[in-house]
Symmetry: C2
């Protein structure tokens, strides 16, 4: 009675690569004497495949490849299934392979269509409960991700059916099952592990048998998945696999204490942070003594690492200003690709302070990355000469933006010449206020801090410092970087608080509006200054062109900007009445 | 028996402004002695409101504002409707106002969830046929957009029900109706007017009474709507309202020949192209003797004009290279905002030819727009000095990109100083090949040609020339601009065909892949060179960072890039098997 959960890190659209990855994990499971292996949701295509699913050729190729996998043990494989009838959408399904002829075991019933999910756009909903007989000698219930969330009361709206309740009813009618499995692609956000544990324990309690949830890990598009697959028993005991790592969780249904974790043997396998199994007694919660900071750090590192690996990018260039954002971005880049693959450019202008130049160099040296200093003087003078009359007579912001864009020019010149990717170092607080320059500091193929509030960036700075110190290395973010007043240094004596409220206040207002959906009146009611709230909301979603051109960032917040990051035009966040 | 169709140009999210706009049109309808007025779909919110619909406060405010409109005649108003039950989504509905107490007349039954539509994400589907009794003395059937497309066989997949067939069955059961109305927000693409006419004629024939389709006009987000509202009679006669203009179509059901068009009296009303009613005899097709070029020109002008008006932008800056793309983009900008509001910058570098400098000036002078020439020399030398070693040792593309980015720096400097928006001038063919520079010629808040193939840009050049000549003005696109070999002029003697196949070939391959969904084998089968096809498809979706950061463009093609323009990351368009 040994089940292996394949916690894989697939690449969206790479059917051949994903098949190879699944086979490699399946062989590890087979060696560990598992009776059956279970993949994550849509493991053969990677999640989310989005509009690739509109291509019938893609769906057919995925299903055929899953069915043809030369598996070393019986497997349940997540794959899209071709429609049963003309004019129907495909299904989000599960193939049973290696247990006689490949056959369709299940089609997902609950299709989430909210937040980052759009499954009603792509899939036809199944209507039958998932039952697999005699696979690896076991009889199993089969569910896919959302199917199990309704029973736990964690869906935003009620579905018409509840697959867990349905399976539980069958069990009560003497349909004997050894366990129920759940193939998931459940993205990360703060406290998501606790939610997912509640889902698994609730399902196991309803069903009266073990519930096993295999979760995708790694970054795909703008989503980052933490893995942390779960096995829960009806009495509340549970085992959690490591987050942020690819591997196999093998569990004997009758001996929870013998669960083991096999790190992936693939040469390019994701492995971020420390990977230990967590065993929980009934009712016990996983430890969270750092307010989720370790998870947040691992999430942003995973997002950047996977973005680069899956896009074929091996080197990173970034501007190092001596400020907190670029210092933390450098920490993330150095962890994601190794410090040798990262090149930091300091580009001081006539407005840059000596401490900024010192702090930039400090971070680069502490991390062991490549560092160059290119004073902006010549280029700045030449540009001001060409634009002199225009700058003198126009809006002051034009001159400030000019410096940020000259820096982007140098960063992109290095990136193009060296075959590297430039990253943007901005955070969500300043981006949400348009306190940044389009084609300037916003330039870059990826924004590792783009979904973090400013105060989270400060917290991560301390966290990366503590990580470095713990292994005997110098702290990469200098004390003065953490304590000096934040400044863009684009004008003499300029500090962020000339324009923005203090960041603790700004973050609180933005969170209330974006994450909790509160309008101006409700935020003021909660105690913030009415004028400050008005100004913050008025700046929301603004920049010179009234739109974002944001590099992607991993989604790590409870609620992201929603469609906002994808296509936010005039009127999206500021409807009027 | 006079019905007015309010062909409005709402702004997404602007409930107060949209209400005012609808009232103004309603007063025009009232003065024209209409018995009832019918708006477009979700007219009070503008279409598509997208994730604004996730806010219950927004939905409530929209419905309340529609219900409270002080209408001068009975009206059917498109608005979201609050859910009937907790945990349910809102409905895409119709309120009957001004005919007794405001009441819910209908909820849309068929929710399109494909291509640019995502209505299953937002709405709960209605299940009842739409019937309104005694409004303006008439009994009417009510449908919303997609509801009428199933009967015409023009939906990609079959829905479980057919609202037109349902209404027709009621009519056969002696439910007497004078007409059926359809509140639409049906975006433009090539030949869309013909499709919509087929829908209206099919519905009228099925129902045995007149069918009236009120369509939204104008640009919202990445969609452009052409209006061209339709009234069709069961015998096949039809009247089409003008496209690209806001106004009111008033029709007496019994006297098609007396239909009249009232241009909107709003001071900022959209009015692009020549607005005449089209009367069609049974079976007659609308004239299309220019292969849709007039419509295409009006679509791109409408998109830019509405983007600017709705975003509060009054001035445009663009780079004028002397090439075909920037010349046509200048024509579009001059028509959208007037030539006085457009500033063209020529920024010749050491690689620019004299004819390019002459052609740039020609276009600016012919259009009567502001023109400046800023040689790139000083800035180019300064940048090469700072980046010298890097450029000499690295990829050659870095030096080419440098020039494009220096130009963007100057364009953005002018835009910021003058409070204007920069526009990007690229076309879909080169953008799809990554034959463009990120933060260089791709910089800009809007790309008016971003959804046009290169050969369409050539055709539009001739069209804008013919338009100018017809009113006694000089042709804005010089002959030499149209006939010289396309060149980015970023290296000595460089022409586009050094890198790309000839544009007629490139466009054919891209269309086959993107619009018709053909893979490499199928395109080669159709006759193109296998190596050329391979290279074109390999370049698809590539740039330095393996992603787009595209300014929005109006969607005018039959099938756009799909989600591609919104969030196209690695693997989106190039799945592997």
């Amino acid at each position: 009675m040994r089940i292996a959960l394949l916690q894989a890190d697939p690449t969206v659209g790479d059917l051949a690569g994903n098949a190879e990855r699944l086979l490699s994990l399946a062989h590890q499971a087979h060696v560990a004497a598992a009776d059956i292996a279970v993949t994550t949701e849509l493991a053969i295509t990677g999640y989310p495949p989005r509009d690739l699913l509109l291509s019938p050729a893609f769906v057919a190729a995925a299903e055929e490849r899953a069915a043809a996998l030369p598996v070393p043990l019986p497997m349940l494989i997540g794959t899209p299934l071709r429609p049963d009838e003309d004019g129907q959408r495909p299904m989000n399904g599960v193939l049973s392979v290696g247990n006689g002829k490949p056959r369709r075991a299940y089609a997902k019933q609950l299709l989430p269509t909210y937040d980052v999910f759009d499954e009603a756009r792509y899939f036809h909903a199944g209507r039958q409960p998932g039952l697999v007989r005699g696979a690896g000698g076991m009889d199993l219930g089969v569910t896919v991700c959302e199917d199990a969330w309704q029973a736990a009361g964690l869906t935003p709206a009620a579905y018409a059916s509840d697959p867990i309740a349905h399976l539980a009813a069958l069990v009560r009618q003497d349909v004997a099952l050894h366990a129920t499995v759940n193939l998931s692609a459940s993205p990360f956000h703060h406290d998501k592990r606790e939610d997912r544990l509640h889902v698994a324990r609730t399902a196991a309690a309803h069903l009266g048998h073990p519930f096993l949830l295999a979760n995708q890990v790694g970054g795909n598009d703008d989503l980052v998945f933490d893995g942390a697959s779960i096995v829960a028993w009806p009495d509340g005991r549970a085992v959690l696999a490591p987050a942020w790592s690819e591997g196999v969780l093998v569990v004997d249904l009758n001996r929870p204490e013998e669960a083991c974790w096999l790190p992936s043997e693939a040469h390019d396998a994701l492995r971020v942070g420390l990977g230990d199994l967590v065993h929980l007694a009934p009712g016990e919660a996983p430890r969270n003594d750092d307010n989720g900071l370790e998870a947040l750090a691992n999430a942003v590192v995973t997002g950047l690492a996977d973005y680069c690996r899956k896009s074929g990018l091996e080197r990173i260039v970034l501007g190092l200003s001596g400020g907190i954002d670029s210092a933390v971005a450098a920490c993330v880049a150095a962890e994601a690709l190794g410090p040798d693959a990262v090149h930091g450019l300091a580009m001081p202008s006539r407005h840059s302070s000596q401490h900024s130049r010192d702090d930039a160099r400090w971070t680069a040296e502490a991390l062991g990355m490549r560092f160059s200093e290119i004073p902006l003087t010549t280029l700045h003078d030449a540009a001001e000469q060409d634009l002199g009359a225009v700058l003198r007579s126009g809006h002051a912001v034009a001159a400030e933006n000019l410096q940020a864009r000259l820096r982007a020019l140098l960063v992109m010149g290095h990136a193009n010449a060296e075959g590297a990717m430039a990253i943007a170092t901005g955070n969500k607080s300043e981006l949400a206020q348009g306190y940044c320059t389009l084609y300037g500091d916003m330039a870059g193929g990826y924004a590792p801090l783009g979904d973090l509030w400013k105060m989270e960036v400060y917290a991560l700075a301390e966290h990366f410092n503590a990580r470095a110190v713990a292994v005997g290395k110098p702290a990469p973010v200098n004390d003065s970087t953490c304590t000096k007043p934040p400044s863009a240094e684009l004008a003499p004596g300029q500090v962020d608080e000339d324009t923005l409220p203090p960041y603790p206040v700004l973050d609180r207002i933005l969170r209330a509006h974006i994450e909790d959906g509160l309008d101006r009146a409700r935020i003021v009611e909660a105690g913030d200054d009415p004028d400050v709230v008005r100004d913050v909301l008025a700046r929301l979603g603004r920049n010179e062109h009234k739109r974002w051109q944001m590099p992607p960032a991993p989604r790590v917040s409870r609620r992201a900007f929603g469609q906002g990051w994808r296509m936010p035009l005039a009127g999206r966040h500021d409807w009027r009445d």
